[in-house]
């Protein structure tokens, strides 16, 4: 019997090119012992959902600093549900005003991280809330 590893996808939906955060997070998740699939910038919600299913990840982490999260984040969550993968956790981060949190939580996101969130705090959240499937 081997070890059950957490698989994470870090994705950047839309036209936003701020990828520093996504790269920093990918590195930090690797250092936390996760397997990280990084798909790069300029992804459509459809590409992200489909890749998440092909890779069988436990969680999709969306990063968006351009302001388009209101549309893009819910779109990914919806597509996953439609494709029978509603059990994949979706979280998001970036420049997200507090007044948008409710909309995103209602759309199914489980957590939102904004600038100032510490990497340790983020990893802790993942380790507590993401269980590799049984």
């Amino acid at each position: 019997m081997g070890e059950k590893k957490i698989r994470v996808m870090v994705a950047k939906p839309g036209l936003d090119g701020h990828d520093r955060g996504a790269r920093v997070l990918s590195r930090c998740f690797r250092d936390a012992g996760f397997e990280v699939i990084y798909t790069g910038c300029h992804q459509t919600p459809e590409q992200i959902a489909s890749a998440a299913i092909q890779e069988d990840v436990d969680v999709v982490g969306l990063s968006c600093l351009s302001g388009a999260h209101r549309y893009l984040f819910p779109a990914v969550a919806k597509l996953l549900k439609e494709q029978g993968a509603g059990d994949i956790t979706v979280v998001g981060g970036g420049i997200i005003p507090e007044q948008d949190f409710k909309l995103l939580y209602d759309a199914g996101l489980k957590a939102i991280f904004v600038p100032g969130a510490t990497l340790d705090g983020i990893v802790d959240w993942f380790k507590t809330n993401i269980k590799p499937r049984d």
Partner: protein, 323 residues
């Protein structure tokens, strides 16, 4: 078996989960493979190896495109290294292939090595079987690309492509160290760079020195140059040539009855692995669990006995046929 049926019908979710359960070493997944194995034998498995940054993932992406144009369905298994310090991994091959993410005829799955040596992940062999049973016409396997020992790929592929780039002095060293023997096709990538003709001559010279027996039924590995990936017209043409050469190689294997020897090689290796898993692993974990293994190591440190005597003792205990 509901899940086998699903995999046969091409269900990505079920397939990817089974691959994951195999990666995690779950017994239940191994049991599933008993039902998958008999159904295999459809796919043409193509291995792609070469040093990190040689452009393997970019080539795989291009090959996917060119096979899709021929209406073939494609599976991709892309292996990246696990960090030996943290056990984590960044699987980045997929970045280059994302344009196919929405094509239902393409299934890309990334795997981490998880400590396996030889450039692949332990679950790769089974993952190939699963994609095969899903009905993929082509399965492309991209290795880690650490170079020298990376020869496991031949155990899994019908066709092995070795990707080389000009201007790296140690490339030829790598060839000498065994990559030459495994190549069915050489690709000189980034041929837009200086030194590609020299590299070509070097590979030629090396092939000239090889005995005729190195070329099964006369297949001398062709050396293809691949145009700059950032010049779409030339790149597409190079890939057409490459996929045609791959097809020719497969036909050569079929025509000269060589497919069997590749399949034989894989079967022998899989049996080896499976025996290790069923026989050796349980013995080792039993010895570890009751502390005996540790006690034996202590004995060895004091030179009370030697590893050979201990191993023979264990064999006598566990194997009916041991001397």
């Amino acid at each position: 078996m509901e899940r086998v049926k699903k995999i046969k019908s091409g269900d990505v979710r079920t397939a990817s989960r089974l691959i994951r359960n195999l990666e995690d070493g779950m017994d239940e997944a191994r049991a599933m493979m008993k039902h998958i194995f008999p159904l295999t034998g459809h796919s043409h498995v193509i291995g792609i190896t070469g040093s990190p940054g040689a452009g393997k993932s970019t080539l795989v992406d291009g090959l996917v495109e060119s096979f899709r144009k021929k209406d073939k369905t494609v599976g991709v298994l892309a292996v990246d290294p696990t960090s030996p310090f943290t056990g984590g991994a960044i699987l980045g091959d997929r970045i280059r292939m994302q344009r196919h993410a929405e094509d239902p005829g393409v299934f890309v799955r990334s795997l981490a090595t998880r400590g396996a040596l030889g450039g692949l992940a332990k679950a790769v062999g089974d993952a190939i079987h699963i994609m095969d049973v899903m009905g993929k016409d082509i399965v492309l396997v991209e290795t880690v690309g650490t170079g020298q020992q990376e020869v496991d790929i031949i155990n899994h592929s019908h066709t092995v492509i070795v990707v080389l780039i000009p201007g790296m002095g140690d490339e030829i060293q790598a060839i000498k160290a065994g990559i030459l023997e495994i190549a069915d096709i050489f690709v000189i990538n980034k041929a837009d760079r200086e030194g590609s003709s020299k590299l070509r001559r070097e590979i030629m010279a090396m092939l000239d020195m090889a005995p005729a027996s190195a070329f099964p039924a006369g297949w001398r590995p062709p050396i293809l140059k691949c145009d700059n990936a950032f010049e779409p017209v030339g790149f597409t043409k190079s890939l057409e040539e490459m996929s045609q050469t791959i097809e020719n190689h497969y036909q050569h294997l079929v025509k000269h009855d060589l497919l069997g020897s590749r399949v034989h090689r894989k079967a022998a290796m899989e049996l080896n692995e499976a025996i290790r898993c069923s026989v050796l692993d349980p013995v080792l974990s039993a010895l570890a669990a009751n502390g005996e293994l540790e006690r034996m190591v202590e004995q060895l440190m004091k030179k009370d006995t030697d590893p050979y005597t201990l191993a023979e003792e264990i064999a006598r205990r566990y194997l009916k046929t041991a001397p």
